[in-house]
């Protein structure tokens, strides 16, 4: 199991999804994306270009992981920021992460 720390960049081995850990989980979790563990190393060549699986892929509301969106695992507090979009949404111990709603704050600078 990969140690997950805030600030760490992790990549999917199954699609183009890349994330940065915003908040580490309060207990160890198995972080996967498209069924394979997420790793610090870049995805194997060609993985990003692999076609989207026919069904059951997405999670998190469909459409895969979206650039700039944040994804939450509520039971552990794990929060990820998607820095590269992909066809799959990460999962913690098999639970698909949920899209975190944007907090409306006024532009202050």
């Amino acid at each position: 199991m990969t140690e997950i720390a805030a600030g760490q960049r992790l990549r999917s081995q199954a699609c183009g999804t890349e994330v940065i850990v915003v908040r580490a989980p309060d207990q160890p979790v198995e972080l996967t994306c498209g069924g394979s563990p997420m790793t610090a190393e870049p995805a194997a060549a060609g993985a990003a270009a692999r076609p989207k699986p026919a069904a059951g892929g997405g999670g998190g509301g469909g459409g895969g992981a979206q650039l700039g969106k944040r994804y939450l695992d509520e039971p552990t507090g794990l929060e990820l920021l998607c820095t590269k979009p992909g066809s799959e949404v990460p999962a913690a111990d098999g639970r698909a992460l949920t899209l975190k709603a944007a907090r409306p704050l006024p532009a202050s600078d």
Binding site: Q8, L67, A102, P106, A107, D109
Partner: protein
């Protein structure tokens, strides 16, 4: 992220200008230039990048290039005298200096034009981006209103935390543009570059603020958002509303595209804000409070709060004098002189905590305590709904006969007098009281002010213990370039020329 999320948008620059340092750069352009700039920094073996100049494309490239190269960016104040500049540059001996001022640097110096040209080169051999959240991103000198300037250390994790806590990626519309008139050596000059790139909002720089130039830029560039320090807003409202408060002309204040105006950096005088909200009724006002040491904004008073105050709600009107509520990632405590946490509503020293709070200065121990709390050195209090009120710097508090008096309260009352354009209240040594209150007044043009009348004005609105014993008149008050009143200079002048 911004380059892949908004490949077609302009990141920085003017759409209707031919000035070289304001040419529109897209997000992919800015990314390519950051890489090329990083190569140039590596080739020169620079350990830091000093940027000594005005806002512009060169600055935006400097910030991202230094981050790509993994070295700190050190924005310096271009208004400093040669001696002070030489002293500060001496602290950054391994730096590449970008400046048009022929600075007294020992190391290599590039003009902004030369720097821009290096950033425009192809950079196929750039090193890959390194994720090092602990690396120092920015060394930023505090304004030094009460002591010598210190370099605050802002690491990538502080700035990232600020961004994630306050901005949503891609939140801006394609048509949004932010007019920035704060200089690069102000924390807001750094933080707005990050937030606007993250939000996908084009940045338009105004090198040097004048009311006319600001209005022209808003109109020419279709500016939707703007960021001002209080002295700039004061000058803008003075320009638009003459001494009698009437508009210079029917369309003088027309800014049809402007929808959001953020202010901060120093205390906003209530009369200036009132005038501004009357001049720009369709604009959302936002007050941002933060310190260099906290990676910019930590509390925000939003448009709804401003509107509620205008509608006459007395509680909301009082809260217009606050700096609003804390950002989600920030906690605050108000402490008594003995360190005890004050109950709600108690006035004391404001402490803050959060991931964006650095509190670290170069060459000294961290100012953050073991539990992560930083003394802001501001005095204030928090109301029952979490609104934070800042009364002024702890160092500015006047202690008269054992009673703590905040200069800001007395200044606000003086500023309400029609003959007063500017007011500074300081404590002067007094045998009987320890300290007594002195006020320095800049009279409004065309008005005669009288010390006795102003004393009666304050006495009738506050009380005699808060009435200045001494009132003197001056042509101007000393400010930092970003609008902070230099109280120690006010006091020195007062003691030298009573």
């Amino acid at each position: 992220m911004a380059a892949s999320g908004h490949p077609d948008r302009v990141a920085v620059g003017r759409l209707r200008s031919t000035a070289a340092d304001a040419a529109p750069l897209s997000y992919p352009d800015l990314l390519a230039r950051a890489r090329a700039g990083a190569v140039a920094l590596r080739e020169r073996g620079a350990t830091e990048l000093v940027y000594l100049g005005v806002s512009g494309n060169a600055f935006a490239q400097a910030l991202f290039a230094s981050a790509w190269a993994g070295i700190p960016l050190v924005p310096l104040n271009y208004r400093l005298g040669r001696d002070q500049l030489a002293e500060l540059l001496g602290r950054h001996a391994g730096a590449l200096v970008v400046s048009d001022l022929e600075p007294p640097a020992r190391g290599p110096v590039l003009t902004t034009g030369a720097w821009d040209a290096l950033c425009a080169r192809p950079a196929a051999d750039a090193d890959p981006w390194r994720d090092d959240q602990d690396a120092t991103a920015i060394l930023l000198y505090t304004s030094g209103t009460t002591s010598a300037p210190k370099a605050a250390v802002l690491r990538h994790r502080h700035l990232t935390s600020y961004l994630l806590g306050s901005v949503e990626f891609g939140a801006a519309d394609e048509t949004h543009a932010m007019l920035v008139s704060v200089p690069p050596y102000h924390i807001a000059g750094v933080s707005n570059l990050l937030s606007n790139v993250y939000a996908g909002r084009r940045i338009v720089y105004l090198e040097s603020f004048t009311p006319e130039g600001w209005l022209e830029s808003v109109r020419d560039e279709g500016v939707t958002h703007a960021l001002l320090v209080p002295t700039m807003l004061a000058r803008l409202t003075e320009h638009l509303a003459g001494p009698d408060g009437h508009l210079a002309g029917p369309h003088a204040a027309a800014v049809p595209t402007l929808r959001n105006l953020a202010y901060g950096g120093a205390k906003m005088p209530a009369p200036v804000l009132e005038r501004a909200t009357r001049l720009f009724p369709a604009v959302d006002f936002v007050n941002a409070y933060g310190l260099t040491e906290t990676s910019s904004t930590i509390a925000v008073l939003g448009p709804d709060d401003h509107r509620a105050a205008l509608s006459g709600d007395p509680v909301a009107k009082a809260r217009l004098g606050s700096v609003g509520k804390l950002l989600p990632g920030i906690e605050a405590q108000v402490r008594a002189p003995d360190g005890a946490v004050m109950p709600e509503g108690g006035i004391g020293d404001v402490f803050v905590r959060g991931d964006q709070v650095s509190g670290e200065y170069r060459g000294t121990a961290s100012a953050v305590d073991a539990d992560g709390w930083l003394a802001t050195r501001d005095r204030g209090w928090i109301d029952d709904e979490g609104y934070l009120f800042i009364e002024g710097r702890a160092d500015d508090t006047i202690i008269r006969g054992g009673e703590n008096l905040a200069p800001a309260e007395i200044e606000d009352v003086l500023l309400d007098h029609p003959a007063v354009a500017e007011a500074a209240v300081v404590g002067i040594p007094d045998e009987q009281w320890g300290q007594d209150i002195a006020a320095v007044i800049v009279p409004r043009a065309g008005h005669a002010a009288d010390a006795g009348e102003l004393q009666a004005w304050v006495r009738s609105r506050l009380r005699s213990a808060k009435t200045p014993a001494v009132i003197v008149f001056r042509d101007s008050l000393p400010h930092t370039p970003t609008g902070k009143l230099l109280r120690r200079e006010v006091l020195a002048d007062l003691l030298a020329n009573p």
